[in-house]
Symmetry: C2
Subunit: 195 residues, 2 copies
DNA sequence: ACTATTTCATACTACTTAGTCTGATATTAT
DNA sequence: ATAATATCAGACTAAGTAGTATGAAATAGT
């Protein structure tokens, strides 16, 4: 019997992702989302319920999207050391492209709300913990394939590498250019016991 | 002829530092500062002019304060390798004490405004560039004292160490506990060519 | 065609925001 | 004491905030 929606929920969500990505949680407003998406306030609240719930959906969508693009090299079945190196090598260019002009929403949210909102903080931590597991799996395969010293503690090294990843995200969100990211990445790869 | 102020400018500034440190720029309000400081709106605007100018003064004050406490080990005349190690070793405990319960205002501001506000971004970058210079001076002394390999590029290593510092600040602002900071710091110190 | 139901656009509430203005008050040089 | 001047408390403006309410319009099963 009902009239049906005039907008696409997934398009609305993508617009919301871009908005929160650009401005963070506190500085984004529902009115701004109305302007950008063309969707009426009713539609937004009927779909998501509140700004908070909307942001939760945004964080989930963002996490899925990043697993599929920027983290893809690491999440391939056979990924090992060469994929780790390729992943880091590609970051300075990727993080300074237009798609990433506002840094990383996960890293940004961790800094904005990590000490003030348990639920969102938890989501960010979970995202990077999952990334750590993926990284550890790559390192374990690298050990199997004798690509790295078998004495390495892959758990600890995986954490360190993910923090190196986060460092690059932080630098890009803090306005640093490709050159600086590249220097940081290369220094890290040189220092690490990856051969 | 004039009536004189009923409040201390430096106390007002310190209260403002704490407020912005806790909530960031966007989410802090002048009304909240009035409540916390007891100073009337007139007094705040007569002293600083605008929220923006107030935040500028806050960033300056914060930078000075951190040079005098947390960075002090590195800024001693004779600081070299032992002081660098001591500096990093002390961070996990210091960054999780009550004084630092809101992370680092410089690191936080870099993430909040690094891509959206040139002037504040510049101030944050300058702060960490100055820290890099101090770190490089320590490394150069360490080379002189034969504490580290003279082949090391102290400029590049200094940048890397300061980014390691920023990583610890980022982790603490993102809600990570002392144990995780300690693990990151120890891994970094193990990997670096510091002996 | 009619009716039930949902969406739409928009007005609205209640609150917060940065910043200004005002009239009373306190101080100090004369 | 008086006059000049700066500060104080609080009212005020204009805009923005999250979220709700409302009447009109559209749709689909009967």
């Amino acid at each position: 019997m009902p009239r049906h929606k005039e907008f696409s929920e997934s398009e609305l969500l993508q617009t919301a992702v871009l908005l929160f990505w650009e401005k963070g949680y506190c500085d984004s407003s529902v009115d701004e989302l109305i302007k950008r998406s063309g969707v009426a306030k009713y539609g937004i609240y009927a779909t998501f319920g509140s700004k908070r719930a909307l942001f939760k959906a945004v964080l989930k969508q963002y996490a899925e999207d990043r697993k599929k693009d920027i983290q893809k090299p690491l999440r391939q079945q056979q990924a090992a050391l060469p994929e780790i190196v390729a992943f880091f090598s590609s970051l300075p260019a990727k993080l300074t492209k237009k798609d990433f002009q506002y840094g990383c929403l996960m890293a940004n949210t961790g800094m904005e709300l990590g000490l003030r909102d348990d639920e969102f903080s938890r989501m960010v931590k979970t995202f990077f913990e999952q990334t750590t597991e993926v990284m550890k799996a790559c390192l374990d395969r690298a050990v199997e394939l004798k690509q790295i010293d078998p004495q390495v503690d892959t758990e600890i090294l995986a954490r360190f590498l993910v923090n190196e990843f986060r460092t690059l995200l932080m630098l890009s969100s803090s306005g640093h250019k490709k050159r600086e990211l590249k220097l940081q990445m290369e220094t890290a790869l040189t220092l690490l016991p990856l051969t």
